[in-house]
């Protein structure tokens, strides 16, 4: 192996590298992807009788639908099916938390991506051409685009009374009293953008009739089981008539957590009795797809003369767009992170409002509201440190929680390292030694920020999952989980864990992911897969080992308690006595199937939602160079100190942190999809700018693992951790370089340039 799978990081800081991933269990998988031999959801062109679907989107961000006339579309060349709201057999609504989004709109449209009708035709072009023949009469309604005005305007959902979808306040202690005792108070307004997931494979896939009245879906997604349930309700089918099959997904990041094209493809497939492929092009993906919630927040934070945090007041507004999706859960996670989980604060009042508008739809996105909150909280700490005249690291050191202390919401928390140790490593980063601003065209500076990240859906949502292990007919140890595969390296982590647990080799293991008729592992989201995978395997592997040894003993006559699984087969006194293949060939396959499932670990002893139990930490140190001529910011280096438990598969851990960090860099510097009168101002990747190769900084990822030896949850999920602290680290570095603190993202080079020239005039 090119990397040490049993790498012992306990108590030490280790800098991750990929070693040689070419020798890793993923090599075959990697080669298939590089050589273009892996079929993605939208590559299924060869299905017999395949039709292509196209969706008619709303002409207005907000309107009443007077009439939809689709009769003429039926006569268009190649058309095999045409559907409107009346053709949805079951519930014409979907949504993970609140089912408020129509599959096909009946009486109102509420954003410019709303679907009204759809066509299935022999070719994609014919389907698109037929959309032109569908006539829709609208009565346009006032567009609610300004989130600050939305609550005073007429409700866009008459079922909700007003445009306030959710409001929540978290309280601790007496905030007014705490502020009265503060020696320093800072109050600022922060704004974060409407970020687009920009997965390289846009939403798409195929719905296939199963010949018995049901449907099989092969669509890029994050939660096959939950999708199957929603789809059965929409399509008027029994739950066992809908299957979601595993298929390679070209990126998700939360943007495929909700249903995308599945409902419309399903309705068309039922009507035509043929497989229907829908693959949004980038223009349509921008217009109709999910986004990250833009957040506008006012925060007041105060401390005593010694720097101890006393009072903290947060008032946030999140624009959820036209439909709820996971918005209420994002609000909850935003507020949880706004309580500053890493720090002791005597009293806080943290409140937020989630508001409907006609600005697209927002939902799940890596970080899930948490990173938006951390940007504001960490910026506040820097402002306080400045006011007190102490170093930002010093202020943090004073206030960081100790292991064993309760969390910010008084819940029991399991850290994997003392927060102070993470800070100390970041404070010792080599990037600080180059923090002096230059005098030429480029101003350079270094800044840091910390972040906490919880694992799991959160304890107000049901969260559990399972897996299965069996011996395949060919004699491979088949391990099945319901997770979706986006190349996030969960398959490699499973393989490594099974090899560690059984003493077998990688070739012995076959990982099966993401079939709704296989084990239900819950959604592939919320940094939960690794935790669940480890928990389930911890219970499964010893049981399965016993089953296999029992069966092998029956076949060979050797004593059961002397047999051990190992590389390639079963061993007695270090000699192989039976291969896995021989075992499979002489056994009934059903006699060696084990299943387990478990609830996701949550903080014990609470009736009410209290925030995450399993907590991770990151400290990110950023070094930037600001161009005096253009105001543009280059991030040259990012150094992350992470504390996220045991590393199972180092290349995967590294890739998750690096990838999330650059996604956060994009949100900080270039990415935003604003709306004008409810319409997005950009519609493709030439206007919406995600980071390119040359924008990517040098990165270093360190791992600090001091998980207590008796911790039952030594493995944590790192899918979101890397995005948590990037934005405030970059803006801190910009301030170190220029003296200017940016509180509205993405950083506007024009504004920065103006502020720089104003500074020079002052000199």
């Amino acid at each position: 192996m090119g990397f040490d799978r049993t790498m012992e990081t306990r108590g030490d800081i280790v800098t991750l590298d990929t070693g040689s991933a070419a020798d890793s269990p993923s090599a075959v998988n990697l080669h298939r992807r590089i050589e273009g031999r892996l079929a993605y959801a939208t590559d299924q062109q060869e299905l017999p009788g395949l039709l292509h679907g196209a969706i008619l989107r709303s002409a207005h961000p907000h309107a009443r639908i007077i009439r939809v006339d689709s009769a003429r579309a039926w006569g268009m060349p190649g058309v095999q099916g045409v559907v409107t709201a009346a053709d949805v057999p079951g519930l014409n609504r979907f949504g993970i938390v609140v089912r408020d989004q129509p599959v096909l709109c009946d009486d109102h449209v509420r954003y410019e991506g709303d679907a009204i009708a759809a066509v299935a035709a022999d070719t994609r072009e014919q389907a698109r051409a037929a959309l032109e023949a569908i006539e829709v009469s609208y009565e346009p309604l006032p567009v609610i685009s300004d989130v600050t005005m939305a609550e005073q305007q007429a409700a866009i959902h008459d079922t909700n009374g007003s445009n306030l979808l959710a409001r929540e306040t978290l309280l601790r202690g007496d905030v007014d009293d705490a502020f009265a005792r503060c020696a320093a108070i800072v109050e600022h307004q922060y704004q974060t953008p409407r970020q687009m997931h920009a997965f390289m494979e846009t939403e798409g896939g195929v719905a296939i009739p199963d010949g018995q009245g049901g449907l099989v879906f092969r669509v890029g997604c994050q939660s096959g089981h939950r999708d199957a349930q929603q789809l059965a309700d929409i399509l008027g089918l029994a739950p066992d008539q809908v299957a979601v099959e595993a298929v390679a997904t070209g990126g998700a990041f939360g943007g495929k957590d909700e249903l995308t094209i599945q409902p419309v493809a399903g309705v068309l497939a039922l009507q035509t009795g043929r497989p229907v492929m829908i693959h949004l092009d980038r223009f349509e993906s921008c217009r109709a797809g999910m986004k990250r919630h833009p957040v506008s927040v006012k925060i007041t934070t105060g401390c005593d003369a010694g720097g101890r945090l006393l009072g903290h007041r947060v008032e946030a507004v999140l624009d959820t767009g036209a439909y709820a999706s996971l918005g209420p859960a994002v609000l909850a996670n935003y507020l949880d992170h706004a309580t500053a989980p890493l720090y002791r604060i005597e009293a806080y009042r943290v409140s937020g409002r989630l508001v409907y508008t006609n600005n697209g739809v927002c939902g799940a996105f890596r970080g899930f509201g948490g990173n938006q909150a951390t940007f504001a909280v960490e910026s506040q700490l820097d402002a306080l440190a400045q006011k007190l005249g102490i170093a930002p690291t010093a202020l943090r050191r004073i206030n960081l929680r100790s292991p064993g202390e309760p969390g910010s919401r008084s819940q029991t928390v399991r850290w994997t390292a003392p927060p102070a140790d993470v800070l100390a490593e970041a404070a010792a980063s080599p990037l600080w030694s180059a923090r002096h601003a230059g005098a030429g065209r480029w101003l350079t500076g270094t800044g840091m920020a910390m972040g906490a990240q919880g694992n799991g859906l959160g304890d107000d949502l049901p969260d559990s999952g399972g897996g299965q292990i069996s011996l395949s007919p060919a004699g491979r140890i088949r391990v099945a989980f319901g997770f979706s595969d986006f190349g996030q390296n969960i398959a490699e982590a499973i393989t490594c864990s099974v090899c560690d647990g059984l003493g077998c080799q990688e070739d012995d293991v076959e990982v099966v992911l993401g079939h709704s008729r296989g084990p239900d592992s819950g959604p592939t989201s919320a940094s939960r897969s690794s935790v669940l995978m480890h928990g389930v395997l911890t219970s499964l592997l010893p049981r399965w080992k016993a089953m296999v040894c029992h069966q092998a003993a029956r076949l060979t006559g050797y004593p059961e308690d002397g047999l051990e699984p190992g590389p390639g087969g079963l061993f007695l006194n270090n000699h192989q006595v039976l291969s896995y293949r021989e075992l499979a060939e002489s056994s009934d396959p059903d006699c060696m199937v084990a299943e387990a499932s478990q609830d996701f670990p949550v903080a014990p002893g609470h009736e009410q939602p209290v925030g995450r139990y399993l907590q991770l930490q990151i400290a990110t140190v950023a070094r930037v160079a600001v161009d005096r001529l253009s105001g543009r910011v280059r991030v040259t280096d990012l150094h992350h100190v992470t504390a996220a438990g045991r590393v199972i598969y180092p290349p995967g851990y590294l890739g998750q942190i690096e990838g999330a960090a650059v996604m956060g860099l994009g949100m900080t510097l270039t990415e935003d999809l604003p709306t004008r009168d409810g319409r997005y101002v950009a519609d493709n990747l030439d206007q919406y700018l995600i980071p390119v190769f040359h924008d990517a900084p040098r990165q270093r990822v360190d791992v600090l693992d001091n998980t207590p030896k008796d911790d039952p949850f030594p493995v944590r999920g790192v899918g979101e951790l890397g995005i948590e602290a990037v934005a405030p680290a970059i803006t801190a570095a910009i301030e170190a370089a220029t003296g200017i603190r940016v509180r509205q993202l993405p950083v506007d080079p024009g504004d920065l340039l103006m502020a720089l020239s104003a500074q020079e005039q002052d000199l």
């Binding site: 080669h31 590089i34 990838g659």
Partner: protein, 182 residues
Amino acid sequence: MNVRDTAPEGSVLEEVSFELNGHTISRSVPAAASLLDILRASGQVTSARAGCRVGRCGACQVLLDGCAIPACLVMACQLPGRRVETVEGLDSDPDFLTVRDALAGANALQCGYCTPGFAISLVAGLRQRRQGHQVDLAETVAGNLCRCTGYGGLRRAVGQLSDPGHHANADGPGDSLLGEQK
């Protein structure tokens, strides 16, 4: 699916012949049909993928007479007599195998949807270098977008390809401040 069918009704069709991965293919297509659509309809290529259709993302990158270009920007009328290569046709190409091993060794991909496009750009760079041109391999992937990796593994792979003696863990050629301090 036939490319003819992907054309708007009434388009004038042209007979177009070009070389795809070493074999001549002929198709009757509208003059403005994109090479991307022709490839995906050919039944021989899935590695060229529609990420943006405006030449921005590089997910449909192919070699046209040895030069890397997004297939969505090439029209059928530009194809006669030209040579098109995709990763499906490069399985024994030494430059491609070098690139493949560098990408795999650096774990330079996650979902992999964009990866054949990156591989094509790097193969074009290696071929130019083999012909004696000065090539900055980092420049060859300037037109390829990846959303998963943050380009960390890609930086390591490009470093490895630029300087085969390069230690896979050093991050980028030369002046890494972090590297110096380690």
